[in-house]
């Protein structure tokens, strides 16, 4: 990125941000559940300019065998950016950044998954970024959580993720690309709707007060996202209002 003189760019106009949002406003979000026929669970999400698709396979047999755990399922998470997802073509394949994001995202989701239900198996999560506009890891985690639920995997709760940034000495929710690239700080979090944080990263700098304000704002954003995730899942089966009688065995 070309370093830009911070005075050159104005992040606010009449108290609103470059895309017309307030400082504490999320970008529009669209979630679709079950978009892939051959995955066990899947989800497509649009968060502003981000377009991300998540697929969940499993629990299934572990390959290679030596990764297998005798008492629980392992979780594999692959975050990948498509080469066309950014303005300048990205060299395809995993790199240091995507390895890191895969690791932290996996660790954001693993605490809520009941891995002990499926010994000697693996739950594979694939997150593909089709279009990037700052905050792809949060979009990926949101999509992955919905896809896991869609795959029928038992979880203690959902996970919702949201970032906050600091631009022009102001804390802003869900920064977009311009704010991310030329901002002073970026702090993504992931949490349960109950407020247990499973991921927190930061680059840039915040004072103690700013940090508290930022986390507060991100948690509120994540709770709003949780409602959207929840509605997307409920809507998939909204036409129904009465299902299977519980019956055991056959013949």
């Amino acid at each position: 990125m070309i370093a830009m003189d911070e005075n050159d760019i104005s992040f606010f106009k009449d108290g609103l941000r470059l895309d017309g949002r307030r400082a504490d406003q999320l970008r529009p979000i669209k979630i679709e559940v079950g978009v892939l026929a051959r995955a066990d669970g899947s989800c497509y999400i649009e968060m502003g300019g981000n377009k991300v698709i998540a697929a969940v396979y499993g629990p299934r047999e572990v390959h290679p065998r030596h990764l297998q755990e005798v008492t629980r399922a392992i979780v594999r998470y692959r975050y990948n950016m498509a080469s066309f997802s950014v303005e300048e073509r990205k060299r395809p394949g995993p790199d240091r950044r995507s390895y890191e994001i895969s690791k932290v995202s996996r660790e954001a989701l693993e605490p809520v998954i009941l891995t002990s239900y499926f010994p000697r198996s693996v739950i594979d999560v694939f997150v593909e970024v089709l279009q990037a506009d700052a905050g792809t890891r949060t979009a990926g985690i949101n999509a992955a959580a919905v896809a896991l639920a869609d795959a029928g995997i038992p979880m203690k709760s959902m996970i919702s993720s949201c970032a906050v940034g600091k631009v022009a000495d102001t804390i802003v929710l869900d920064p977009m690309k311009e704010e991310d690239n030329f901002g002073q700080a970026d702090l993504p979090i992931a949490m349960t709707p109950g407020g247990e944080i499973t991921l927190m990263q930061m680059d840039g700098g915040l004072t103690r007060e700013e940090f508290h304000q930022a986390v507060e704002m991100a948690m509120k954003g994540a709770r709003d996202i949780y409602e959207i995730q929840r509605n997307a899942l409920v809507d998939k089966y909204s036409q129904l209002e009465a299902p299977a009688e519980e019956v055991k065995a056959c013949e």
Partner: protein, 221 residues
């Protein structure tokens, strides 16, 4: 009856004693573990809408032999875990060298889960008159979460279906269903099963299936 769609982590009840399948208790409250349909009775159960079949002892399943070892057939049972059918669980005594004479790789079998140990080693058996090699008919695969609906309350749906389509049907808990009968009957049975899978979550299904069968048969004759 009170049913609604829930997602993991939804609060279901303040009474820990009502925790049923698909739920967990935290701080004396009952929460959902699954994305599914909450069923409020004495206990609150959450019926999943998706998920893999996890074998349990006593389940009838349909499997496909995928490998033969010294004394076991390894059977794919549509689950993350393979089934092991030991030579001694075959209804008659056979020699190790002759195993592939009776069940070859690719053979479909109706079998039962005999035991599952904590490491998820699944032992199968063929020691029952109902069980054995599938020689005729067709096998369809549906989601195993829809199987209870296909069977119906106390087997109402499946016995109705068997009678109406004049077919022999074996329902595997793993979502594989064997249908055997005349070509036209089998085709109708197959379409009915797929319809039940598609509409498994809706109300008054049995009545609708009866109507469906009536109109289908009407057009045929």
């Amino acid at each position: 009856m009170d049913r609604k769609v829930v997602v993991p982590g939804d609060l279901l009840s303040e009474d820990a004693k009502r925790s049923g399948e698909g739920t967990f208790v935290k701080d004396g409250r009952v929460y959902s573990l699954l994305y599914g349909l909450a069923n409020y009775r004495d206990k609150i159960n959450v019926i999943p809408l998706a998920g893999k079949y996890i074998p349990a002892p006593g389940d009838n399943v349909i499997g496909v032999v995928k490998d033969i070892t010294f004394s076991n057939w390894i059977v794919d049972i549509n689950s993350p875990y393979d089934g092991l059918l030991h030579i001694s669980e075959f209804p008659k005594r056979i020699e190790s060298e002759e195993m592939s004479k009776y069940l070859r790789i690719g053979s479909s079998i109706m079998t039962r889960v005999k035991d599952v140990d904590p490491t998820m080693k699944v032992e199968l058996t063929l020691n029952d008159r109902k069980l054995g090699l599938i020689k005729t008919g067709q096998v369809v695969e549906i989601s195993h979460t829809r199987v209870p609906r296909l069977i119906g309350k106390g087997g109402s749906m499946i016995s109705m279906l068997k009678k109406e389509v004049n077919c022999n049907i074996f329902v595997g808990q793993n979502g594989r269903i064997w249908i055997n009968g005349g070509a036209e009957d089998m085709d109708l049975a197959l379409r009915t099963v797929l319809l039940i899978e598609k509409e498994a979550h809706t109300n008054g299904l049995t009545d609708r299936i009866v109507d469906f069968l009536k109109t289908e048969k009407g057009t045929r004759s």
